[in-house]
């Protein structure tokens, strides 16, 4: 057994152990913290699978932003854990559920072991058409060219999620701002961190987006890093969340999907098909669309974390 294999097995056990902790930990808060650790370990697994783009996304969104969201919720729900007695399942049904879950996992493991070592693949086709897109990173090409339709609609999913979260506001708060007001005296430590980190993070985010055309990275990952910076600045209460009725906010939320959709329709007019790029202009067109997607992701994720409006709108 090589050292790398030993490390792989160690990592596998660690991931499994932390995952089991998030399911079985006695307190919800502890379980949530476990989940964040789990997400970071998982990005290491993704690196071992040679999927660096996914590793970046998992670290930034799967663990990072989701972690902030869930820890925030767990902290606010701490009171509920002691207040409400939950009806839990009886011992027998727990056992039945456990048996079912073990069966599903075993069946899945069996199928995974049966998969051939060299499976079917679209890698050759992805590489064959890569020059048409002018990109160097095939994952970005799949997201923004070959399967552009998926990606555009997934942006619409994010917009619907924002509408859904906002819909949970009380009527009188509609149009107001979510989250807490800007503090007179922000928490000094967090403010210090935010002031140093945010400029750096913005640079890193734009960098990750920019290199995504040719190297691991891209609009999702870059946008998520920018989003994280805004979240930190809001957490430090250096600034407050914008009013949800603000036109600039709405514009930033929908800019990505609208530009993507418009480019898709333009493709039907100028390039012979919906979401097709004119030959020779593919790369500038893709970067143009991606720039707006970065903006929308950077605004959407913090808005989803911030939750529904909680203050009355100002005139």
């Amino acid at each position: 057994m090589s050292v790398l294999q030993a490390l792989d097995i160690g990592l596998a056990f660690l991931v499994f152990a932390v995952a089991a902790w998030t399911i079985f930990a006695p307190g919800a808060f502890a379980a949530t913290v476990g989940y964040v650790v789990y997400g970071l370990l998982l990005s290491l697994v993704w690196i071992r699978l040679f999927a660096v783009d996914v590793a970046l996304t998992e670290a930034a969104i799967g663990s990072g932003v989701t972690g902030v969201l869930l820890i925030g919720a767990a902290a606010r729900l701490r009171a509920a854990e002691t207040a409400g007695r939950e009806k839990s399942l009886s011992g027998l049904s727990r056992l039945l559920v456990a048996v079912l879950c073990v069966l599903v996992a075993l069946a899945l493991a069996g199928v995974v072991l049966l998969l051939p070592d060299q499976g079917p693949s679209l890698a050759p086709q992805s590489m064959q058409h890569l020059p048409e897109t002018g990109l160097g990173n095939p994952v970005t090409a799949v997201l923004i060219a070959y399967r552009a339709f998926d990606t555009m609609l997934e942006k619409v999913v994010l917009v619907l999620a924002v509408v859904g979260v906002w819909s949970l506001a009380a009527d009188r708060y509609w149009g107001g701002a979510p989250g807490e007001a800007r503090a007179q005296r922000p928490e000094p430590t967090l403010a210090f961190l935010a002031q140093i980190l945010a400029p750096l993070g913005i640079l890193v985010g734009i960098h990750v987006f920019w290199v995504g055309a040719d190297a691991p990275g891209g609009a999702f990952q870059g946008g998520a890093i920018l989003a994280a910076m805004w979240i930190i600045v809001m957490m430090a209460r250096l600034t407050e969340a914008p009013q949800t009725k603000a036109f600039w906010l709405r514009l930033a939320l929908v800019a990505g999907p609208v530009v993507f959709l418009a480019a898709g329709v333009a493709g039907a007019i100028f390039a012979g098909g919906f979401f097709a790029y004119p030959p020779g202009f593919a790369k500038p067109a893709i970067l143009f669309i991606e720039a707006f997607m970065v903006l929308s992701i950077a605004v959407t994720l913090p808005m989803l974390v911030a939750g529904p409006p909680r203050r009355e709108p100002r005139r």
Binding site: D53, A79, D150
Partner: protein
């Protein structure tokens, strides 16, 4: 055993664990955690499918990778909506429970909104 197969087995185990948490854990927040865990197990299955599709000079098939990226973003959006619902429930009732008694109270109409 290759690291890809190992990751696949971890994925299978995560799906099992997540499914258990989703069904057996009564607290909504824990169900959301379990859903995320199960989701990431499924993404790992995509991951080994991608890794086993290494070809044309690529270490992994880019198509499943792109699907995972899409999936991670959708899973986050789903968590955000679920968390917003749980918090709203908690603010209104002081509890965050899916106990059916909470909504089968005698009706007051159901005349629609407004």
């Amino acid at each position: 055993m290759t690291s890809a197969t190992l990751a696949g087995l971890v994925g299978a185990a995560l799906v099992g664990l997540g499914l258990y948490g989703l069904i057996a854990n009564p607290q909504p927040l824990r169900k959301i955690l379990a859903f995320n865990l199960m989701g990431s197990g499924i993404f790992l299955v995509f991951g080994i499918v991608a890794r086993k599709g290494a070809a044309a000079g690529l270490q992994a098939d880019p198509v499943p990778q792109a699907m995972v990226i899409t999936g991670i973003v959708v899973a986050f959006a789903a968590s955000a909506l679920a968390v917003a619902l749980v918090l709203r429930l908690f603010e209104d009732t002081g509890q965050a429970t899916l106990n059916p008694d909470a909504w089968t109270k005698p009706p007051d109409g159901g005349a629609g909104a407004e």
